[in-house]
């Protein structure tokens, strides 16, 4: 039982991170029908921003400010930095190709991914960097204890923070003018433009929000797993993309459920089958879901124009 519960906690920890990244994939795809393969690298940049905020306030062993304030500043800086990065990527790499054949922005997205990865290597070097979270947060005994199982403060932050962000995003999409505009652009960009919606601005907001969430996920990842490097974005991005597709790309609840589903599948496969085959199982599930429901678990049925 202990093993089962611990596996659920492990799965939720990675699953929430995949979900936060998957949301960005889903939002951008919903609005632009673009697979933004650079999104995983935006998450990586977020992890680096968090790391340098940590260093700016004295580093893990000599903090000059209280830990809650530090963590808050790390999240804010990563969200703002990645949000602006996302807007910049859209403005300079994708917008000029908006009316080009689909393959052009797709290849550009891969190019942007490599630019981000190599730029980080160039600027910050190839050494793996460590948040050393246990130096400033008590991850061994702090948090909530259920029997012999400990849910540490970082895990609690990931669980609660992710749920709050997802709830906030759904409120924005469902209840605000911005959300309505996003849905209008996603439904029919030209019609939305004719109705007076500033499509460019709405797309920029979409990139900002999606990238900001990836940035926060990057900091959460650094806090939870300690080590970050320029290469952490690619695989995480691939898993998050899988989550978005399984959930139904373009669907916000789908991205969330898909992320958790992939995280839990990965953890259970690694615990009860083999770590060697966990990717095989995760991507096998993707194929099965696609065969059974080609639009994903939560995708809305596409309207057929007649």
């Amino acid at each position: 039982m202990h093993e089962f519960i611990q596996t659920i906690i492990n799965g939720l920890e990675t699953g929430f991170l995949y979900a936060l990244i998957a949301l960005g994939y889903s939002m951008v795809y919903g609005v632009l029908k673009l697979l933004n393969f650079a999104h995983g690298d935006v998450y990586m940049v977020g992890a680096y921003i968090g790391y340098y905020v940590l260093q700016a306030f004295g580093g893990p062993t000599a903090l000059s400010i209280p830990v809650p304030l530090l963590v808050f500043l790390m999240f804010v800086a990563a969200a703002l930095g990645c949000g602006l990065l996302g807007v910049g990527i859209e403005r300079f790499a994708y917008r000029p190709l908006r009316d080009a054949p689909r393959i052009a922005p797709l290849i550009t997205a891969l190019g942007v991914s490599f630019i981000l990865e190599n730029s980080v290597l160039l600027l910050f070097g190839g050494f793996t960097k460590s948040y050393s979270t246990n130096s400033f947060i008590n991850v061994d005994t702090g948090g909530i204890n259920i029997g012999s199982i400990n849910i540490d403060p970082v895990q609690i932050t990931i669980f609660v923070g992710s749920i709050l962000m997802m709830y906030g995003l759904m409120q924005i999409v469902d209840r605000t003018t911005l959300g309505k505009s996003m849905r209008a652009v996603a439904s029919d960009r030209e019609a939305a433009e004719m109705l007076g919606i500033n499509v460019d601005r709405i797309i920029s907001y979409t990139f900002f929000i999606g990238s900001a969430m990836a940035g926060v996920a990057g900091v959460m990842s650094g806090l939870a797993f300690n080590q970050i490097s320029a290469t952490v974005g690619f695989l995480a991005g691939l898993k998050a993309f899988t989550a978005a597709v399984v959930g139904g790309i373009g669907s916000i609840p789908g991205a969330m459920i898909g992320g958790l589903f992939i995280g839990l599948c990965e953890a259970f496969a690694a615990t009860y089958v083999s770590t060697k085959f966990s990717d095989l199982i995760v991507f096998g599930i993707l194929i099965v879901v696609m065969l059974a429901r080609p639009t994903g678990l939560f995708a809305q049925p596409a309207l057929q124009k007649v």
């Binding site: 490599f114 630019i115 991850v139 300690n226 080590q227 966990s278």
Partner: protein, 404 residues
Amino acid sequence: MKTRLTLGAVALTALIAAGCGSSSNNSSSHSSSAAASASSSGSGSGKSCKATIAIEGPFTGPVAQVGLEQLHFAQLAVANYNQANGTNVTLAQDDTQLTPSLATQKTQSIIASNAVAAVGPAGSQEVEAVGPLFGRAGIAFISGSATLPALTTDGHNPTFLRVVPNDDIQGPQDANYVVNHLHPKAVLIIDDDEAYSQGLVKTMIPIFQKAGVKVNHQTINGTDTGATLASAINSLVTSQLTPDETVTMLPWQAAANAQQFGLEVQKQGKKTILFGTDGTNSPSQFKIVGSYVSNFGPDISQSSNPLDKQIVSGVAKYGPYGSFGVPTYAAAEVEMQAISAVCKSGQTPSRSNVLAQIRKTNISPSQNPLGVTIAFKSNGDIVGQPGYLFKIESGGKYVAIPNH
């Protein structure tokens, strides 16, 4: 026009970033090094003794700490030798990220260049991939870390040499130490699915079994990163680490992953002694107190030997000291001495005469940082060298265990 300009700027930035990202910022590319070495001259030693050697290593990526240590020690060896002997040898850098496919590409570019010898690559799986290429080109390549025994016995790598003992020495030494000093009932061994790791595991398991120690052998994907890697590590700690397994062997190439494993063990409230092999030997990355780390090179940071002191202080100019890089200093030194000897004999350094000279190497213990005679067997293995073992004490300090 505006669109074209934007696209042009994006493409230019991509080229710059990709180009710069593929090697360290102080690299000398093949084009420049080829030009420098094009005028090789063989009239004795001194400034006229010009040549280029290349170094292959993981200078970026998850195990960059290993490659950068090696690079910095090689840079120091070349600079020291040039300064002391008046030679003009250039070091070209090739980042392989510890991947055989990239190592193959880089080897092809080395073959196309004027390099007369190479240092590296770091990983056994890379040597397996590039050995036949170097062999056909007749280029000597000396690794300071590739330890898979088969590399010198399968006949595929005729120009491969190494200045480190192979896994038939390191693996059994580590396993015997565990059996004789840590006395576990059971051990958890996790390989990282690479040739290096699996080679070591193969040499350890029979020793544990012979001593009656139960072996739980698991595999992790060493190329995973971030959340995916963490998920695998978390699951292994959750499901595989039982109270009986008081020792966990981590024959991995990424020290940061061993650190991650140790932190997860602590987080889940479990107890085991971690035992890493040379790939995890990095005081800045792996510092779980009470763990053991073996290595194929000595830690010369506290040595009173003048040469060792000079090397430790000299490498600081390039990057932080780490004992993983020490053998690479020796590998570069071997090639420098061979080039110099060729020049002194009145010949122009070429791949064949440098290779022949390298095979004759005989450097005394006092003249190299390994502290043992550097000479090669006919198959390219170094003639007799012990392994080294360290225990991580409080503060992450690596303390050498003598005569283990």
